[in-house]
């Protein structure tokens, strides 16, 4: 009698609560005595607060991240060097007031709007805003961008060496596990692939102001940049005209995903401190927690049109008419918002603290029970090979028997995002906005859950 109602599956030692992590399912165990020797000092004078030889730095990483870490060289630079190599297009953040204003408006639209046939104007405006290239970033406005954000940088190609060298100081710090500036110059000259830069001065300043261990901040920044490396695709879209990072929705998803990867490496109080660090960052970084709550949901085009046609049979004629196209797209957006956002994103099942571990098939079933019939077939239709390659090489998803529900959802989202980037990040396809619309609504959801208390 004493045990009735106690959920036995969730029983266990409460002293050491710990999530399952990727390395649990991996055959590759970390070797703390032999960490990857990929860290070079290019211009940091004081390295005494940092310790790169800590085993925990490498033990925390999941297998996929450790693989990336062993292949990408890390260069420690000072703040002048960082400012010199930081691309001007990335020295911007989202202007939060504009977007948050629309978010709040859309989120508090009263219910009656659904029943009217006029789509909510604010919703459409918000979607256009999230789709606008280069707009709503703070580049032109002074004072909105703080250099303290630029603690780390991932670049798919190494920058010009001269810009770094002319700002390097005379006496540079050394530490265990850190290679010398001479070696760094050699490597940077010959290296072709991606590189990571970390600014130790800013990391130390941040840690001081937050009264945290500088090594914890360092680890978080490093994992975040490794996350960007993991999220990059073979043919990088970096600084091309298709780069989704220049579009607000793309930036929200990219930064939230990278932050989720960084956050995922930590547990317990450390995870809380990392969350506190993330709290200092701009709004586009705040969606990391929501990133593991709900999967991106793709709508079947036919289904949308079918539904709309039921309501308005004349729509078929208007679809043929180019001028009224934007109108029908509006109604699609509205439909998408009301049906999907409210009944799927609002019911975030994974986060309601489901203790047990479930597998991806069950997860799919869970969503299917709530009306999302096809979350897994949409994107594979266009170019299956890219998708499956992504699965195999990036996360080796199939090899793991079970993952926790939150992990599974986040992995799915990362996969969708990667596959989208592998397709060249199309934002319109023959006049159809449906493809990025799924990501738009997802980005809206990340904003809403991340930025509002």
């Amino acid at each position: 009698m004493f045990f009735k109602g106690i959920n036995p599956s969730q029983e266990g030692s409460s002293k050491t609560p710990r999530r399952a992590r990727y390395s649990d399912f991996s055959f590759q165990r970390p070797k703390p005595e032999d960490p990857p020797r990929t860290i070079y000092n290019l211009g940091c004078q004081d390295l005494s607060p940092f310790d790169f030889s800590r085993p925990i730095l490498w033990q925390r990483m999941p297998t996929a991240l450790r693989k990336v870490a062993s292949s990408i060289p890390v260069f420690l630079v000072n703040s002048w060097q960082m400012d010199a190599i930081y691309p001007p297009s990335r020295k911007t953040i989202l202007v939060d007031e504009t977007i948050l204003k629309y978010c709040r408006k859309v989120a508090t639209i009263t219910l009656e709007v659904e029943d009217t046939h006029n789509p909510p104007q604010e919703l459409w405006e918000l979607f256009l805003l999230l789709l606008g290239r280069g707009k709503f970033f703070s580049g032109s406005q002074p004072g909105t961008y703080k250099p303290s954000f630029a603690m780390g940088l991932y670049l798919p190609k190494p920058p010009a060496l001269q810009r770094i060298l002319e700002r390097s100081p005379e006496n540079m710090g050394t530490g265990e596990g850190i290679r010398s500036p001479e070696e760094a110059k050699q490597v940077l000259q010959n290296h072709q692939g991606p590189v990571i830069f970390l600014c130790c001065e800013r990391i130390y300043k941040t840690a001081e102001s937050e009264r945290m261990d500088p090594n914890l901040v360092l680890d978080m920044v490093y994992y975040h940049e490794l996350g960007h490396a993991l999220l990059d695709v073979e043919e990088s879209l970096w600084d091309t005209s298709e780069d989704p990072y220049d579009v607000p929705f793309g930036r929200i998803i990219e930064e939230s995903a990278a932050n989720w990867i960084a956050y995922y490496c930590f547990t317990g109080k450390e995870a809380g401190l990392v969350q506190r660090l993330i709290r200092r960052q701009p709004v586009e970084y705040q969606g990391y927690a929501a990133f593991e709550e709900a999967p991106v949901i793709f709508l079947d085009e036919e289904k949308v049109f079918h539904h709309l046609l039921e309501r308005n049979p004349r729509l078929i004629f208007s679809l043929l008419d180019k001028r009224s196209m934007s109108r029908s797209l509006r109604s699609i957006a509205q439909h998408f918002y009301w049906r999907r956002y409210f009944w799927l994103y609002q019911s975030w099942p994974a986060i309601w603290h489901a203790g047990p571990v479930i597998n991806l098939r069950e997860l799919g079933l869970h969503w299917a029970g709530q009306g999302a019939t096809a979350i897994s077939t949409r994107m594979s239709r266009h170019q299956p090979s890219a998708f499956y390659q992504t699965i195999q090489y990036k996360w080796s998803l199939e090899s793991r028997p079970t993952v926790s529900s939150a992990e599974g959802i986040a992995t799915l989202n990362i996969l969708w995002w990667l596959a989208y980037k592998e397709l060249g990040a199309p934002r319109e396809r023959k006049g159809s906005y449906i493809f990025p619309l799924s990501f738009l609504v997802f980005a809206y959801y990340l904003l809403l859950r991340g930025a509002f208390t």
Binding site: K4, T108, D213, P356, E362, L365, H366
Partner: protein, 463 residues
Amino acid sequence: MDSKSYEALPATIYNLGSCAARYLDFTREELWARMSTPLRHKAVQIPVFLVNEAQMDILYPPERRKVIDPENAKDWRERRRNSDDPPKWQDLDPPSPDEKDPDPSSPKGKGPSPSWSRYERFVAIGLYVCNPKAPPEVIEEAKCKDGPSPTGVLGFSEAEEAYIRHEGPRIYLCCERIVSVAEEKGIDPNLVLDKVYYHELGHALLKGVRCFEKPEDDPYLQTWGRIIEESAAEWISYVHFRGRERLLFRKVLMKDKPAEYRSCVVFHRIPLFPLPMAEPNNWDENTQQGIRSGLRKFYESWMDQKFPWGTPGPGKSFYEVWMTQKYPWGMPGTGILPLVEGTLLEDWLKGELFYKCEQQEDLMVQQKRWIGFLSLPLWDAWVAQRAFFLFFGYPSWGAMKVTTNPKTLIRNRALFTSFMASLNLSAWRAYKELGAPREPEYVIPLEEFAAALINFSSQTYVF
């Protein structure tokens, strides 16, 4: 490397004048490790103010000083089950005796409930506020004006400034009450602190973007709204504990709680219907009554359902058996079932039904029950689909093997319960996010759900 200690905490915690704060430790690993990601996300966002009893009494809104006496809830439940004229919300949650002429349509008066004084120290122990007003007399009531503590709690001067300046939601925790409750129960005050803190963070999780500016819009001030909100927040708090701590939570800490808090233990056992149940403003008075009684019957039969294979004892409901039976290996479960390893559940159920039902006297009754349950007019296609996945499709379509493996059984049961709870929580949150509309198509299912929560948690075998 220097062995310097870094005292930063994930959350911002201020001591606004509580002397008992020194007995509480926010640097413990398990306080933060127990939390799930979204809960910790909220913890990082929302500042916490530690206050003393006098300060909490000023801060606690008078319209929220309402509790439901569990004894009262028992009577209410009996009357509701047995009489044709069911008792009203007002009988469950009476206004204070000194209040003159309370409005029957809105049972919420301004004054506290008659039994408030008995439950005050267990309820006004923590407070989550969405739109804070900061009355200045709270600062005058500060007893200990300590500086910042070495454990990361910020001192009085910072607290004073943040108390006046901070916009947005905040959490108040009354350390004196936390410590006195822990002393009375003989358990670690830090456990009580964690429980209260998670409960308030649960309220934060249940809130969306919308904050109710006008008090009349807030469903919390309705009795049914308070029951659902409090049991949901308490459930969130409850599931964050495991093992011995969960047992302490349930057996010790929940003893002196009002009925709406105690009902968290059945929150994941009862389904809330999707809202709205029909197009708003389409139900006339007769339909409303019909829906009400239909829902009431539904919830009763939901908890009273007999096992298809017959109950182990006479007159025991599905729920009762669920709660009291044990597997042979001592875990709670459905008792000894004649299972053959590897049978498909569907086939086994069919065979079981036909074989056992022949032996049952009340075969017809049972069949009728199931038919009535399925043919309820309220069950539109969407609900039927959900139910399908709940009963048959989850966790996998018909391919779930019948198994005697305790691990699998326990896992399936845990999946089932968390699934139901997630539906309830999300429905309630979405309802508030829509602005808490008061059409009967929304309110009636919510009222019946709240009544069911009170009903089933006031049964003796729940605790």
